[in-house]
């Protein structure tokens, strides 16, 4: 966990710098009240102090049981997480072109086939079922306007 804390500490310092720099673009105070720059300025300052505290703590303390744990998962798990994330990103990018039901079907079938080792027909079957159920619940009953793709659905 020490390594994770150090990474988080450094990210925190980066964020604090960003908040501070952004805050300088706005007025810090108006005549009586804090200006738009007041809150981001103090967020930056406090975050910087806390990041230093966290970093300092990682150098001071003895390694505990949690410190030997890895933050990044094993190779296979990392592959699974990355794949799922990329599939979700694909949903985000393709939905305007393929439409909601087709994208959902491809997402589910893709995950089940590639990641969970389901057969191709079974994966497609589940994909169609999930797309249909979600479309009926959210599109039909709850009248959400989902993007329509080239198939017109």
């Amino acid at each position: 966990m020490k390594k994770a804390d150090r990474i988080f500490g450094v990210i925190g310092l980066g964020l604090s710098l960003w908040f501070y720099l952004e805050s300088t673009k706005f007025n810090y105070m108006t005549e009586f009240t804090p200006g738009p720059g007041f809150f981001p300025f103090w967020v930056g300052v406090i975050l910087a102090i806390l990041s230093c505290w966290l970093l300092f703590d990682t150098f001071r303390r003895l390694p505990s049981e949690a410190d030997v744990m890895k933050i990044l998962p094993e190779k296979n798990a990392l592959y699974r997480v990355t794949f799922i994330f990329l599939m979700l990103f694909g949903v985000r990018m393709l939905m305007p072109y393929l439409g909601f039901p087709v994208t959902v079907c491809l997402f589910v079938a893709g995950i089940l086939f590639s990641l969970e080792r389901y057969g191709i027909f079974k994966s497609i079957g589940y994909g169609i079922a999930y797309a249909a159920v979600t479309w009926v619940i959210f599109g039909h009953f709850m009248e959400m306007n989902f993007p329509k793709g080239f198939l017109g659905i």
Partner: protein, 502 residues
């Protein structure tokens, strides 16, 4: 009398077929999702928010409350049958309940858990009604300075009491405050951190953050491995504990309820601490404390009642003051805002019918929950046999739909994915996302209160210490900070001593 009349009105509103159906669906879905290993009530509510889109505020909130206690009960089932607590408040149940299950008493543990939760739910709701209304009346005296101090105190308590690591919880909260700065500022109407993106002008939507960090983040962690769980089998006829067993646990249930409700009211303490305190007390008062850890009935009944009563207690500051006391109530508060309501003391003035209807629905929801859960536990347990590979794609799709529905656009979906990755790494690095969520909700309120208070006092900061309520709240915050700081210094000294010895 006014409270009773209000409550009767609430019952009249919520005893309609539609609202009862919503409560039933909420209990059912909450239990079904909450039973999945690794998904606690906060994540369950976050995932199920999209289902309430398009509904009126009253049935939507009735459903969300039902989801909350359904998820609490679902989490207990997983703890007892699989030994995987959905969230920290079920840890104790996993210790004692699973031992009972291994002894062939899974049904008794589940039955006692259901009965304890039911009694605690009903008594806790009575406590909620009795405490929230006077507190809301009292808080009508609050001005911006008092609200600012209250928010400061609430946030500090949540961080100090709730988090494992104080700097990490504080950092999570400060990042949340930073995220709360995104959008049009209230002082000069300038765009902050929007970078010309129109979708960010209204700020970051809470649903996007909660679905990303709790929904996507949790699912990514769970989906790292091929999850295969082997729940202990339960039969219907084994589900009812004997009268002797119920009577044996009656004091544990009542003690748990009292402790849970009081602890639940404190911001940040919530169900986890309540269940641990209740367990500790049961162990102390038990004739054979050495048997704890081997499957003791009181060790399940007490903490289970306690964590359920704490959920009612946590709703007191949420309804009365608009200050959430835990991650789950923060999700609920966000849902309130989403339904177009303004949380805080004025809620009781402007939307009294709504508040009483929701409170009344909690009585009905608890009755539905026990009627549904006792006979259906074997069915719910069978959900654990469905491959997780088939469940998580559905959860992810619901999250995408939820983010899409906010502005009927894909920008929020992208933002949610970003928070999902952040939530995943936060979970891996043991950084609690709840303070960030609370700060996102409370940050803009805090900034507004500060602005209004200083405006009214012509820029004098003394307004926060010269007004008695505000000064008291700030004094509590300072004392709490000093106590925590003192504890940290002592811990640091102990570490240095250990270093020297090594």
């Amino acid at each position: 009398m006014e409270i009773l009349n209000g409550l009767m009105g609430g019952f009249a509103t919520c005893i309609t077929p539609y609202n009862i159906l919503m409560s039933f669906i909420g209990c059912l879905l909450g239990t079904m999702i909450g039973i999945l290993p690794g998904l606690g009530p906060s994540a369950t509510m976050a995932i199920l928010i999209p289902i309430t889109f398009g509904m009126n505020a009253t049935p939507a909130m009735i459903m969300m409350c039902a989801v909350y206690y359904g998820a609490m009960y679902g989490g207990s089932t997983t703890s007892i049958l699989v030994n995987v607590p959905g969230e920290s408040s079920s840890v104790i149940t996993a210790i004692e309940g699973h031992q009972l299950a291994k002894k062939g008493k899974a049904g008794t543990a589940l039955g006692l858990s259901a009965i304890g939760s039911f009694i605690a739910g009903i008594l806790g709701t009575i406590g909620l009604v009795a405490a929230a209304v006077p507190l809301a009346d009292f808080s009508l005296k609050f001005g911006p300075a008092e609200f600012f101090s209250l928010i400061v105190m609430g946030m500090l308590t949540i961080i100090f009491v709730g988090g494992k690591s104080i700097p990490k919880s504080l950092m999570s909260a400060v990042i949340g405050l930073g995220l709360g700065c995104v959008g049009t500022d209230i002082v000069e109407g300038k765009d902050r951190f929007t970078y010309g993106i129109a979708e960010l002008l209204d700020g970051i939507d809470f649903v996007v953050l909660v679905m990303g960090t709790f929904g996507i983040g949790e699912v990514l962690v769970s989906a790292e491995e091929f999850m295969k769980v082997e729940p202990i089998k339960v039969k219907f006829r084994e589900l009812f504990p004997s009268l002797k067993e119920i009577l044996q646990c009656r004091w544990a249930i009542l003690r748990g309820t009292g402790i849970g409700f009081i602890i639940g009211i404190l911001p940040g303490a919530g169900p986890t601490i309540a269940s641990f305190v209740s367990y500790g007390i049961e162990k102390t008062v038990h004739k054979h404390p050495e048997t704890f850890g081997t499957g003791v009935l009181e060790g399940v009944a007490g903490p289970e009642s306690s964590n359920n009563a704490a959920t009612s207690g946590a709703m007191v500051p949420m309804f009365a003051l608009g200050i959430p006391g835990s991650g789950a109530t923060a999700v609920m508060l966000g849902a309130l805002i989403l339904y177009g309501l303004k949380p805080g003391p004025m809620l009781f003035v402007e939307n009294a019918d709504f508040v009483y209807a929701v409170m009344a629905s909690m009585f009905i929801g608890n009755i539905i929950l026990i009627i549904m859960n006792l006979p259906l536990v074997p069915l719910f347990a069978s959900i654990l046999r469905i491959s997780y590979a088939l469940i998580y794609p559905a959860i992810l799709i619901i999250c995408v739909i939820g983010a899409y529905a906010i502005s009927t656009g894909l920008f929020d979906v992208g933002l949610m994915l970003m928070f999902g990755v952040a939530g995943y790494f936060m979970k891996k690095a043991d950084i609690p996302p709840a303070p960030m969520l609370l700060a996102l909700l409370l940050g803009p309120m805090m900034e507004r209160s500060l602005y209004q208070a200083l405006n009214l006092s012509y820029g004098s900061m003394l307004t926060f210490v010269t007004r008695p309520i505000s000064a008291t709240l700030l004094a509590i915050s300072v004392l709490m900070s000093i106590a925590v700081g003192f504890k940290s210094v002592r811990r640091a000294r102990a570490l240095v001593k250990e270093d020297d010895k090594a």
